[in-house]
């Protein structure tokens, strides 16, 4: 695959994100698909963090473990990341008089890695520039090394700092000039060749999963957000809060996650689309509210942004460890829907879907995301803002229809699909009780046996109805060089099965493998809808395939467990990762290559 990678490392607070973001923007405009990945620790300043950009003229969705260019803001990067640089790669650093250990030096020479020292302090002193401008200087050097146009960088800097006035802009431009001058002096170093650009990418958005999700929920008509800060759900809260003056949405930072869950439940009962997002620990606290909404048949949407647990675990790293939590948490038996986003496109598309499902079935919908998706930077086709349909299910708002309602219509038992009419407090109609105790059709407490069973059955019939309408998982197959998402009956050698952020790495790997061996019959089955779980397509494919491999970012293979529970098929081969890191491109490539070898 035609790709290169660039990694900025340093302490948190040194500006690695701004350098990463400005390079990403510039390269996207230059005609590259960019995939950004951040690693950082749970602290505000210090530590060791990184911002990696993987770049290609064709679509990429992953991070490589090995990098072409390493940019170090301090000596920790030279110690910790130098070994990641590929043969013939480049290290740009700012640490004066740095000496690698003899073994590292030998390895660097052997790998023909160029080490370039940028005397940032000296250059800035000459320019009488503030230390903060070091970020622009180093970006400029990188820009020059990549053989990119100076004017493009100037445009980006103008966009970012133009509002600060001409003087600030002039200082920034002086640093850009100095960067290019410095680069010109290093005549021995060749430009790093970027693959040929594809101008189509320049029209794309550069967006994180959280931002895409924020736009998605605004698009879905969500008017109220209540949440409690918790990584990796916080970027969504921040994004929504920053936009509140434009959207008019009410954003409430609640006193805890229970409050957030209860507030959005109250708002949804009043007919206002509302949402809360949290991570595992906060979601645990929301469990009881989830159960409450089960018996109230109150539509709600919860975003569960996963990170590794148990407890505080690894707060700023990624995982797919809460699938079974989402499916099973909360006491009692009731219908819920669990779905998972996989990338920025899903983040946008699935928000209207989640709200529609919640209102149509009068259930809670849990949308799973991961730190990897929430904070990854995607090159995204502009969103289609006309595609989403608004569906509010059996919500009655017509005044004439409202007048005809009786209290006992609210939890009426007669509907085959278990879904009874719903109307909003404040509507001129008969009133009912949204009752947390077992109740009769009007919400009056009723503890008799036959009524209890009838209401249980009603609430659980919704699960059957929901299961029938949910789509089967998507089969991704390459056909004559292009991705196809339809199933065909062709016999496969290898079927990969996964959900969530796994999709990106698997698709990148399959593209490479199939490009190398067009005879390879491999496909990826991606589960977006995880509960109720549709297993028909999976069972059919599994029966015919030579080998099925489960790929998940957790220790037990939780989707595999659900599949076994629902259709009795145990997937024996598993690729499981649970070290807080996502699947990296080359790592997964090797693992899957080995699995293919075993099938032959």
């Amino acid at each position: 695959m035609n790709r290169i990678s660039l990694k900025v490392v340093g302490a948190q607070g040194q500006g690695i994100n701004s350098v990463g973001e400005i390079c990403a923007k510039g390269l996207k405009r230059g005609g590259y698909c960019v995939f950004g990945y951040r690693e950082y620790m749970s602290l505000i300043k210090g530590g060791h963090s990184s911002y990696q950009l993987d770049i290609s003229p064709t679509e990429i969705r992953t991070t490589e473990e090995k990098i072409d260019i390493l940019i170090c803001f301090n000596h920790h990067g030279l110690e910790k990341n130098a070994h990641e640089v590929k043969d013939g790669g480049l290290i740009l650093h700012e640490t004066a008089d740095w000496k690698f250990s003899p073994a590292e030096q030998k390895s660097i020479e052997k790998r023909k890695v160029t080490v370039l020292y940028l005397p940032t302090d000296e250059i800035l002193a000459k320019l009488k520039a503030k230390p903060i401008l070091g970020n622009v200087l180093i970006t400029s050097v990188v820009w020059a090394l990549l053989g990119q146009e100076k004017a493009n960088l100037q445009d980006l800097v103008r966009e970012q700092f133009g509002h600060k006035g001409e003087k600030v802009l002039a200082e920034n431009f002086a640093c850009i000039d100095a960067g290019f001058e410095y680069r010109a002096k290093q005549s021995a170093i060749k430009h790093l060749t970027l693959p040929k650009a594809d101008k189509n990418w320049s029209k794309h958005l550069l967006i994180t999963g959280s931002e895409a999700m924020g736009l998605g929920l605004i698009h879905a008509g969500c008017r109220f957000y209540a949440g409690y800060p918790m990584t990796p759900s916080s970027p969504l809260l921040t994004f929504i809060a920053d936009l509140q003056n434009e959207t008019g949405m009410v954003v409430k930072q609640a006193e805890d996650e229970i409050t957030a869950a209860q507030m959005v439940s109250g708002a949804m009962m009043m007919g206002t689309r509302a949402i809360t997002a949290t991570s595992g620990g906060g979601f645990d606290l929301m469990s009881e509210t989830l159960s409450l909404n089960g018996i109230l048949e109150n539509p709600t949407v919860f975003v569960l942004a996963q990170r590794p647990g148990p407890a505080t675990g690894l707060p700023t790293w990624t995982a797919q460890g809460d699938l079974l939590l989402a499916v099973n948490t909360a006491h009692g038996e009731f219908t819920r829907c669990v779905l998972s986003v996989s990338d920025s496109q899903d983040c946008f598309d699935l928000m209207p879907t989640a709200f529609n499902l919640a209102e149509e079935y009068q259930i809670s919908v849990i949308v799973l995301t991961e730190k990897q998706i929430a904070e990854a930077l995607y090159t995204q086709t502009p969103f289609d803002q006309k595609k989403a349909k608004l569906s509010r299910g059996k919500l009655i708002t017509d005044p004439k229809a409202l007048k005809k309602l009786k209290p006992a219509d609210r939890y009426d038992l007669s509907a085959k699909d278990g879904i009874s009419p719903r109307w909003l407090p404040g509507s001129e109609a008969a009133t009912f009780a949204a009752q947390g105790d077992e109740h009769d059709p009007s919400g009056t407490v009723d503890e008799t046996g036959p009524n209890t069973k009838a209401q249980f059955d009603k609430r659980l019939r919704k699960m059957n109805a929901l299961k029938k309408t949910l789509p089967e998982p998507t089969l991704h197959q390459v056909e004559s060089g292009k991705w196809k998402v339809e199933s065909n009956d062709e016999k496969l050698d290898l079927l990969l099965v996964g959900w969530g952020s796994t999709k990106g790495p698997v698709l990148d790997v399959l593209e490479t493998l199939i490009a190398q061996d067009p005879r390879l019959k491999a496909a990826y089955l991606h589960f977006t809808y995880l509960w109720p779980l549709k297993t028909e397509l999976f069972s059919k494919l599994h029966a015919k395939v030579k080998k099925t491999v489960l790929i998940e970012g957790n220790a037990q293979g939780q989707l595999g467990m659900l599949l076994a529970q629902e259709c009795g098929v145990m997937i024996k081969e598993k690729i499981l990762k649970y070290d807080g890191r996502p699947f990296f491109y080359n790592e997964l490539l090797e693992t899957i290559r080995n699995k293919i070898r075993e099938t032959r």
Binding site: Q262, G266, M268, L292, A388
Partner: protein
């Protein structure tokens, strides 16, 4: 009483349910129930125009004994649900009801932040100083040393000074009533409904089965109407003194409608009024 108070307003019957009452003989809930019904009728609100939110406890059994759109939720959690509803549709008055057990233990954090956030809603505290529905355990407001179910030797903990605590949070409306004085309680509820911020109403009530210390007679003897004795409801400092000094007599009435604090409350509420319940698909 099926005659409405006004030609267009509701009657008491409109708020009646067929469900049988299950409270004990002499329970203070009957008085609060009646006063709440009367205040809704006298406010001219039809059942479909209000949302009544109940916590879990003996009072929560009112959820099917009074008409209106109702919500009966989780123990201790009624405030955030009601606040979410109140913010989502400011045109529907929201009245939340909870007991002293839930409100000063499991849900005390919500009470703190509801007062602080000054949500546009009413909160009626059924204060019988114990957990009645779970058969008479001590609450944070049970008198220290009082033998209760699960604490036969009396509870060792200090009694939480609930009114001092509430006043420390700079509430914009505080009132206290007594379940035995339905006429006064009705007026208090109506005033609370008119308040545009968070209205905290403490209702002292008898629990004939489990509360053997602050009985109906005990409360009847001590409660007096502070407003009738000339208390100025805008005097925040005086209100706090009156509310907390319950040694000899217990003040009731509307103790503080706030002056300076209320101002702050209006600002916040106006911000929340941006909120609309009508849903459209919006594009940005």
């Amino acid at each position: 009483m099926s005659i409405p108070l006004s030609p267009t307003g509701p009657s008491m019957k409109d708020y009646s349910c067929d469900t049988q009452c299950t409270w004990c003989d002499g329970c203070g809930d009957y008085g609060i129930w009646t006063a709440l019904k009367r205040s809704l009728v006298e406010s001219g609100l039809q059942p479909w125009q209000v949302l009544l939110c109940y916590d879990v406890g003996c009072h929560g059994n009112m959820s099917d004994k009074l008409q209106g759109y109702r919500f009966h939720g989780l123990h201790g959690r009624v405030l955030p649900f009601a606040a979410g509803a109140a913010l989502a549709n400011p045109n529907v008055p929201v009245i939340a009801v909870g007991g002293d057990g839930a409100s000063f233990s499991e849900g005390v954090g919500h009470l703190v932040h509801a007062i602080r956030s000054n949500y546009p809603m009413v909160f009626i505290l059924h204060n019988n100083a114990n957990y009645g529905l779970t058969l008479g355990q001590a609450s944070a407001l049970t008198w220290q040393g009082q033998p209760m179910n699960t604490s036969p030797n009396g509870i060792p903990e200090h009694t939480l000074p609930s009114m001092d605590f509430v006043f420390s949070l700079e509430p914009t409306f505080v009132a206290r009533g007594f379940s035995g004085n339905i006429a006064q309680l009705t007026k208090i509820f109506q005033a609370a409904m008119k308040h545009r911020g968070f209205a905290f109403v403490d209702v002292l009530q008898a629990c004939p089965t489990y509360n053997k210390f602050a009985t109906h007679d005990y409360l009847l003897e001590r409660c007096y109407d502070a407003n009738a004795e000339g208390h100025d409801p805008t005097d925040f400092k005086k209100a706090r003194v009156l509310a907390t000094d319950t040694g000899k007599r217990i003040s009731t009435g509307i103790q503080d409608c706030g002056c300076v604090v209320l101002h702050e409350g209006f600002r916040l509420n106006r911000r929340f009024l941006w909120f609309i319940a009508i849903l459209t698909i919006s594009h940005i």
